[in-house]
Amino acid sequence: MSAVGDAVLYEAVGVSKSYGSVEALLDVDFKLHSGEVVGLVGDNGAGKSTLVKVLSGVHPPDSGKLVLEGVERHWASPHEALAAEIETLYQDAGLAPHLSIGANVFLGREILRPGILGRLGFMAQRQMDRAALHELAQVGIEIQGSRKTVAELSGGQRQAVAIGRAVAWARKVLLLDEPTNHLGARQALEVLEVIRKARDRGLGVVFISHTLPHVLQVCDRIVVLRLGRVVRDAPTSEFDAESLLGTITGLLEAS
């Protein structure tokens, strides 16, 4: 594991975000270090996905600030966050179903052909297809035939491709919104292993899941959101299944 220094890799400070009259996030502070997996948990509507979309540049926060490696950043688009090496797996929305696996893995990062053809925008499709399988294999995901369209894959395979793409491209920050959705029990465990490897490469990983055993298994620290607020931020060792559930639902608040 790379050094978990005190230096914060990526941070949200006092972030609020509302959609119309719905306050999705209220004055949220969130810290992520290199080489750390932070679990982000909460009930439906707690604001987990909203926080991910703020961190990944999809939505600008209404107030508060984002700080990457000590520098305050304002993302005008996900493109800028990507360029700053913040990679995101969005819940159920990350892939273009009509495109091939190779095209999806390289979407937005197409390899162009050398020379004049490349200048004209011609893509090196074979090279991308081959590299896509290689990249997916690198992070432990085996899929045959990268020319298949994503629509032809099963839910689990799609999720595997989406995770593989995010992990393969991630350089600093990796945001994973429900990565173990649609996966069978064994596949989910394999994904957790992929996440651990990503952490060991020194990435800061945010892991969102409803499956609390997964969260307890893989995370170093857990942040609990309820109705848009952070209600608990503590090392995983301070939680067990029962206390985590209690914190999420608010039944433990009094104690």
């Binding site: 688009s77 990350g94 004209l120």
Partner: protein
């Protein structure tokens, strides 16, 4: 290892099954079926009226094809990106009328033919481009859905064409008619331009990053944006392209008629959309084929010309096109599910 369930190693082909699987492949191949349909239509119309295969008639079909395919190409990009452009017919009319005004004044001052053609083309394409950019502005900034934005533009551009032309064809002038025979070798000027544009757009749609982004946006706009694609800019360029090509079609129609008629492109958007859908595109976006659009356009121009030659009352061709759309859409619905 996340070994995806179901993705087994490619199974060895059983010997003897090759022919059967080839036949099944061909029947399942929409392009191939379109070719068969086209051949059948040509055979049918030739049997009804042998003059159908004469040089003069083929030239007519080719002329119709040249303007319709331009609309179809633009529409292919738009539909692949998950949108629709209903304004292309009106854009053809309006740009033809404005272009005709420009060319009439140039002819009035006795300019050379090449200059007149050049300026006319430039004016027509600019008008079409302006219409396309307006569509994009309505979609991207006024947040209208493409159907509504381009429907508004269909009405607006068609109305404007009638207002500024007073409802009359502009520039019916013997010298304008002489422009229509402009040729380079055996090829008419429009057919050369069309060949070049079809080839370029074919490559661009299927082999370049531009085409890839077009499909990605039509397939899953959120995924495209999340992957860092500037969706607004891309959508703008797609409608601009569609508009500019419709403007060029306006010039071609002018060259065919020798005048800019305010109703020249009436209902052409329906034929263009039909051609794209017949060619295998999905109106939900993410799926389209340039080869399919070319074949679809050939089928539509064959049917409309064939009906005229067979002395069927002219208005039946709209009914025929409607039937073609229904058939193509049904074919899509019946094809094995490959949906998300």
């Amino acid at each position: 290892m996340v070994t995806s369930t179901g993705a087994v190693a490619p199974a060895g082909r059983r010997p003897g099954g090759a022919v059967r699987s080839m036949v099944r492949g061909l029947v399942g191949n929409q392009q191939f079926m379109l070719l068969i349909a086209l051949a059948a239509l040509v055979a049918y119309f030739t049997a009804r009226a042998p003059v159908f295969l004469s040089n003069g008639e083929l030239a007519n079909i080719l002329t119709d094809f040249c303007s319709l395919i331009l609309l179809g190409i633009g529409e292919t990009y738009v539909i692949a990106s998950g949108g629709i452009d209903l304004s292309v017919g009106s854009a053809t009319s309006l740009s033809g009328v404005v272009g005709a005004f420009a060319m009439r004044s140039l002819l009035g001052s006795h300019q050379g033919e090449a200059l007149v053609l050049f300026v006319g083309t430039l004016v027509c394409v600019s008008i079409g481009l302006a219409i396309g950019l307006t569509n994009a502005a309505l979609i991207n900034w006024a947040r209208l859905v493409p159907f509504v934005a381009t429907l508004a533009m269909l009405g607006g551009a068609a109305g404007l064409a009638i207002v500024i032309s007073n409802g009359e064809p502009i520039g019916l002038d013997p010298r304008a008619i002489s422009l229509t025979t402009a040729k380079l070798g055996p090829f008419s000027y429009p057919s050369l331009v069309v060949i070049a544009i079809v080839a370029a757009c074919w490559l661009s749609l299927h082999l370049t990053r531009y085409g890839r982004y077009t499909f990605a946006i039509g397939s899953n706009e959120f995924a495209a944006r999340a992957a860092g694609i500037d969706v607004r800019r891309h959508v703008t360029s797609v409608y601009a392209l569609s508009g500019a090509l419709a403007g060029l079609a306006g010039m071609f129609v002018y060259m065919r008629l020798g005048s800019g008629a305010p109703t020249a492109g009436l209902n052409d958007e329906l034929q263009a959309i039909a051609a794209v859908v017949i060619g295998g595109a999905s109106l939900y976006g993410g799926v389209a084929r340039m080869s399919g659009t070319v074949l679809g356009t050939l089928i539509i121009t064959t049917v409309t010309s064939g009906l005229i030659i067979s002395n069927v009352q002219a208005n039946w061709d709209q009914v025929a096109v409607a039937l073609l759309i229904a058939a193509a859409a049904a074919m899509q619905a019946l094809r094995p599910a490959r949906r998300a």
